[in-house]
């Protein structure tokens, strides 16, 4: 970056994403905690649904996304908590970083973390529930990417709000969960179709819904995030 000229939107986003990922990489504390939290959730679901493997197999798509969703609340809350230490968020805004770049960077970093989480717990789920990727790894990867984006986009916006409110640990899931139900339905259905085959060719429609959700909420977050940060 040359001195004096403000960085472009994408340039600033790139720097901020690198900053977030570097912070994460230095300790890896959040990623480790998330993985073990999600694994514990998977085990809990397996115990709650019983040892009957046919039930576990049919519920596998929903189980995967519920584990990711529950873990995401912790990840999202944490991603803004670190910015409040030493008023780092104010420092970033004075840098000056465009608030929209901040939104893109935070959402992208959170989405990457959730994709990684999904990729790590997927083999464990496959073993626990006895499912295989009937459709192959390609469609599964697409669902993981779109689903992680769907959680991270609105999740980052809401985390920015709730991190500065009282009772933020209650507030974030209370705001986020009802909003994400369409994304959860689409991601869980699409994942089940990957696990069990897609004789009715419904996979595309669910992916379309998920992609539409991503598009709507990333654009909305992009437009509204500056208003959330301003004082």
């Amino acid at each position: 970056m040359s001195a004096g000229r403000p960085p472009s939107l994408l340039g600033a986003t790139w720097v901020l994403v690198r900053k977030d990922l570097l912070l994460e990489w230095r300790t890896r504390a959040r990623a480790n905690a998330l993985v073990f939290f999600a694994l514990a959730t998977l085990l809990l679901f397996s115990f709650a649904l019983g040892p009957d493997t046919t039930i576990l197999r049919r519920a596998a798509g929903g189980t995967l996304w519920l584990a990711i969703l529950l873990a995401s609340v912790l990840a999202l809350g944490e991603s803004f908590r670190v910015e409040q230490e030493n008023a780092a968020l104010d420092g970033l805004r004075l840098a000056p970083a465009d608030a929209r770049a901040l939104f893109l960077a935070k959402s992208l970093a959170n989405a990457l973390l959730l994709m990684l989480l999904g990729a790590v717990i997927l083999p464990v789920l496959a073993a626990l529930a006895g499912v295989t990727l009937v459709q192959g790894p390609g469609p599964m990867a697409v669902v993981l990417v779109l689903g992680a984006l769907a959680i991270a986009g609105p999740g980052t916006l809401y985390a920015a709000i709730s991190s500065q409110a009282r009772a933020r640990d209650v507030l974030l899931p209370l705001l986020l969960f009802p909003l994400l139900i369409p994304a959860l339905v689409a991601a869980a259905k699409a994942t089940s179709l990957v696990f069990e085959g897609d004789p009715m060719l419904q996979f595309q429609s669910w992916l379309g819904l998920l992609a539409g959700f991503d598009l709507v909420y990333w654009s909305l977050g992009f437009v509204l995030f500056p208003r959330v940060l301003e004082d």
Binding site: I161, S162, L171, L174, P178, L224
Partner: protein
Amino acid sequence: MTHALFTVVGVAVVGGGLYALVRGPASWRAGVAVLALVLLVSGAWYGLVQAPPDREMGNVQRIMYVHVPAQWMALMAVTLNFLCSVAYLFRPSWPKDALAEASAEVGLFFGAVGLVLGSIWGKPTWGVYWSWDPRLTSEAILLVAYAGYLALRRFIDDAERRAVWSAVVGIIIAVDIPIIWFSVRWWRSLHQMQSSPSTVDPDMVRALRWNAFAFLALWLVFLSTRYLIARARTEREMAPPPMVAEAAT
């Protein structure tokens, strides 16, 4: 053409009524509350006695006369909340914020009433209270979302931040409505289609209209009262502490 005219006139009358109730003396609100009570009693008489029983559902169908108006009022309140949220972000002002808060709470109330009445109606007609019907399911999701909106308002102490953030959340929830609707409809469907007034017994139409006006009067009273409470609270928050106020005079 006539539909558009009705809509414009309706919006003007409701908006004017709301404005009058908010600005006028408290006795006006009391008057409309009495009117709502009279309308509700006579609406119940129309719905329970005057209107004929439904050909297929029998007397059970009479719950429609309160279920549908409650849902209309919830829809109106949610629309108002969305409009206030957008307007606030473009040009902030306290009345818009207070109206957004009032409409979210009133919408939550009427939505909850409509939801409960709908599931009571569902038991004898569909055989179950909760059928995962797309409309009721979407509405249940939205009620939780607006409960989150109201919780957010309670958890932020700074009045200006509360106004901006809840406007953002109000817009986000409103945008989710069509997406929720589509996803849940693909997921499952059972709800009956609406009937048009031209195919329905005039007594049934009258019972529904009467109750709709009763609910509208109630809606206006609730909304204006809740608005005044919200305004009073923000004013108290923004006011200087008593010592400072005394020193200034």
